[in-house]
């Protein structure tokens, strides 16, 4: 009873949504897909901004929608962050934050301080929305959604309207949210990078249907799905910083099944980090290579092989200890190495991205 059950069917001209999902009541769930996949529509159905003909929605045991029940949006204990911050232009930043805060029951009302501090918007409170940058506006939009003490936070591509620099400005705040909030977050995105950084659970959507729903690690390692990620196919590992080499500015992170060297980004030893290993940065060898620039050599065992989106490429899933990695090879190389399920070989990891 601690999860979110959602079942919706919508029929619009040229678009059909048909989903039946159970989402975890904790952590960040990414709703991932291309535009037109129905991910935003699903989020709007959960918020009550769209009303599906046939629908069922229960949040941690409370029914928000079924054949008899319809809870309007303003009675649902949620926070919603829109793609464009959509701040009220007739109110100051503080007025925007207070708008929702003063409309919730007094005993649930919390000070705005935490949201203001978390999003770093203290210096902006007296300003009008038209005097803010795009990144500042979106941070205020997130703080405003948190100010209603929501029991679930819904975010509709909060970074999509921003340029790369603004994205980099906001992502650290989102990562802090991930650590600081004890409420579930549903995060709509079409960016594999944001998903890899933020999500714990992944729902992949296409054409109004759910392709896969599961924990981030498992779902990213599914060979029938990486095609959706294209160039960004890869896995995410939960790891711990184990060693820092000050002479070469490197850090060694340990994950279940092995360890990897990466650029030292200042994390303390013992800190939990998320490590992303892209399939295109992983290659395979049948023998231990002595003379190579690649630092990371791990013993592994081939688990499964699948076609990649390009006819010349293949994706190989390799088990390394308790973890799995994906490797993208040309079919010619795979044939030359004789790659087959169960085969033991060396996994070479050229580059690793440290997140958090």
């Amino acid at each position: 009873m601690d999860d979110i059950a959602a079942r919706f069917q919508l029929d619009w001209p040229g678009f059909r949504l048909d989903v039946d999902l159970t989402l975890p009541g904790r952590g960040v769930t990414a709703l991932f897909g291309h535009s037109g996949s129905g991910k935003t529509t699903l989020l709007r159905c959960i918020a009550g901004l769209e009303r599906s003909r046939q629908g069922f929605l229960s949040f941690k045991g409370e029914v928000w929608q079924d054949a008899q029940t319809w809870l309007p949006t303003y009675r649902r204990p949620l926070g919603y962050v829109f793609q464009e911050a959509s701040l009220f232009p007739h109110l100051t930043v503080l007025g925007n934050l207070r708008y929702g805060q003063k409309r919730i029951a007094a005993d649930q009302r919390r000070s705005l301080d935490q949201a203001i501090e978390l999003l770093g918007i203290g210096p902006l409170l007296a300003r009008r929305p038209d005097r803010l940058s795009g990144g500042e506006r979106q941070r205020v939009g997130i703080a405003r959604a948190l100010a209603v003490s929501p029991r679930v936070l819904l975010m509709d591509e909060p970074l999509a309207a921003l340029d790369l620099k603004r994205k980099q400005e906001i992502l650290p705040y989102l990562e802090r949210l991930h650590d600081a909030l004890d409420i579930p977050v549903l995060y709509v995105s079409h960016s594999p990078d944001e998903v890899a950084r933020l999500a714990d659970h992944l729902v992949a959507m296409d054409g109004g249907r759910v392709l896969a729903s599961g924990s981030l690690g498992e779902t990213l390692a599914r060979l029938d799905l990486p095609i959706r990620f294209g160039e960004d196919a890869g896995v995410v590992l939960d790891a711990t910083v184990a060693e820092r080499d000050t002479q070469w500015h490197l850090a060694r992170v340990e994950f279940p099944g092995g360890s990897l060297w990466t650029r030292d980004q200042g994390q303390a030893i013992g800190q939990h980090v998320r490590v992303r290993v892209l399939a295109r940065d992983v290659s395979l060898a049948t023998q231990h290579q002595e003379h190579t620039s690649i630092l990371n050599l791990l013993p592994g065992q081939v688990d499964a092989i699948a076609d990649d989106e390009h006819p010349g490429l293949t994706l190989v899933r390799v088990r390394v200890g308790e973890s799995v990695l994906l490797a993208r090879l040309t079919k010619r190389s795979a044939a030359a190495l004789g790659v087959a399920p169960g085969q033991s070989l060396w996994v070479q990891v050229k580059s690793v991205a440290l997140m958090e």
């Binding site: 918020a47 009550g48 901004l49 309007p72 949006t73 303003y74 009675r75 949620l78 926070g79 919603y80 829109f82 464009e84 959509s86 009220f88 232009p89 007739h90 708008y99 929702g100 409309r103 919730i104 405003r144 959604a145 209603v148």
Partner: protein, 230 residues
Amino acid sequence: MLLSDGDLQAIWLTLRLAGIVTAILFVVGTPVAWWLSRTRSRWKGPIGAVVALPLVLPPSVLGFYLLVAMGPNGPVGQLTASLGLGLLPFTFWGLVVASVFYSFPFMVQPVQNAFESIGERPLEVAATLRASPLDTFFTVALPLAAPGFLTAGILTFAHTVGEFGVVLMIGGNIPGVTRVASVQIYDHVEAMEYADAHRLAAVMLAFSFLVLLSLYAWPRNARGGAGNHG
């Protein structure tokens, strides 16, 4: 002062009429404008057309129908008589009622445009911030449509000041009761008092120019209405 007591009385009556009509239309026109801006009903077209009718109808036609309706055999006349209010034609309040109909589109259309230009998003945002639809209307829709209301108020006021045909049909020409400025000018001309007509006409001309200047010279307000007052 070069204006006669009769002229001043007519001007005062005109301003009082326009002020009362504008106030009534703020209350009556706003819900209609809101409904027209939000509805997906098939009645939107017909209702919108009825609202716009005074823009194209000759004032004498509108005045004629209102006179019949408010007369002793008309439905409005029977209602007012049964309520002990007497009959409305040839009274100040008869003019008010007629002017409310006559100036209706000048209130509804700019306000409707202002509501439409808000879009759905701010209303959805308010709903996610726990505001009920009524709450949203007063705390989000009205403030965001404020420039449209200013435009609508100015246009309604000015248009009521300028009406003539409907006044003649409904109100006749009773000094201090229904003789507004435009009728007073007509009287001056009928009586060959061209100098008096000139003075009052100049006042009206200056007033109209200043009203339009306030709409066009202030871009925030011109946005909401200058293009759509018929």
